[in-house]
Symmetry: C2
Subunit: 221 residues, 2 copies
Amino acid sequence: MAMKEVVLLDSWACPFSMRVRIALAQKGVDYESKEEDLLLPKSELLLKLNPVHKKIPVLIHNDRPVCESLVILQYVDEVWNHTNPLLPFDPYQRAQARFWADFIEKKTFETTQRVWATKGEEQEVGKKEFIDHFKFLEQQLGDKPYFGGDSFGYVDVVLIPFYSWFYAFETLGDFKIEESCPKIIAWAKRCMQKENVASSLPDQEKVYEFVLAYRKKLGVD
Amino acid sequence: MAMKEVVLLDSWACPFSMRVRIALAQKGVDYESKEEDLLLPKSELLLKLNPVHKKIPVLIHNDRPVCESLVILQYVDEVWNHTNPLLPFDPYQRAQARFWADFIEKKTFETTQRVWATKGEEQEVGKKEFIDHFKFLEQQLGDKPYFGGDSFGYVDVVLIPFYSWFYAFETLGDFKIEESCPKIIAWAKRCMQKENVASSLPDQEKVYEFVLAYRKKLGVD
């Protein structure tokens, strides 16, 4: 049987895959999800389609792979440009959105890893950095409903997947994100009221169970 | 006196600033360069305009700052879209260009640092990684004249500034990049024949002198 026109090498708990799931949902694109199990060795298909980074997500569109979630999001936005734009139209606003997406990419993910994949002193450093980075984001959000302003856009899609890991971060790190970043929590709850977001993100407690298994795999516990 | 419409917080030896200088030259944009001395404390203007990363380059356009070189390049390409496009028109080709620019950003810079800012075993590891990464780029370039195909484009702009550091890498690392990556060297020489590139890149031996001073500042020597 031929593959669908759009296929996603996906994994339910992977925040980067969630970004693509949200974007495809926002664009109304019908696709086939091929699940990679992050606790098992990588599939031959993944190694073949992303030989450089060997990472999901990979979007396969008309048999051609696109790798790296931020690259995929911009591709999706440009190909399916008839509805729900992710990036704003104005070049300066686009630059600002790309800047904050890049900030999340460079700073936030590494820091979240220190919160969930370590313990002891390293985890304490990670928690402090996590809060510092999210305070930058809280400040950038300000009193706007979304990072994109009045409408849910690129930076929102890039950041919201981490919300599904917040329960794991808070439980393993023994801290409450809301105490330092109440606007981020309010924003996340606002995003979760959108069907395309809620249906693309897994349950927080299910993610917590997955993280416990991942910590075991990494030898942290 | 009022600032020019376009100002670049710049530094002559900084590869990221060189990217922006090339892009502005390709677009024919007249601008004022404000030099930051990388061996001195950061200027107040830089700290004010890029409070998140505190890094050059910063492009100031009509008094508004744009930070991070890849974000700036895309901004420049979108604002001055009348000539010499950096990114290709086709969404898939654009995604490929963004993928390789991201690869250079994530992998190559860190590795070059290991070559010029370390010594001993760490430097040996850096040299091996450097060659590994440039072999990926050599393979991607293939027999095309430029990464962008027949015309000089986004990935070329992102990568070529490192060429001005090659003499420093080779001298400090005691190796020859051409032995492993002859196509990269031929491509670099091809790019250097372009006036907009040659006039935006400093002399390799001057960069080497700068790198020696930087190593002293970092306490490597």
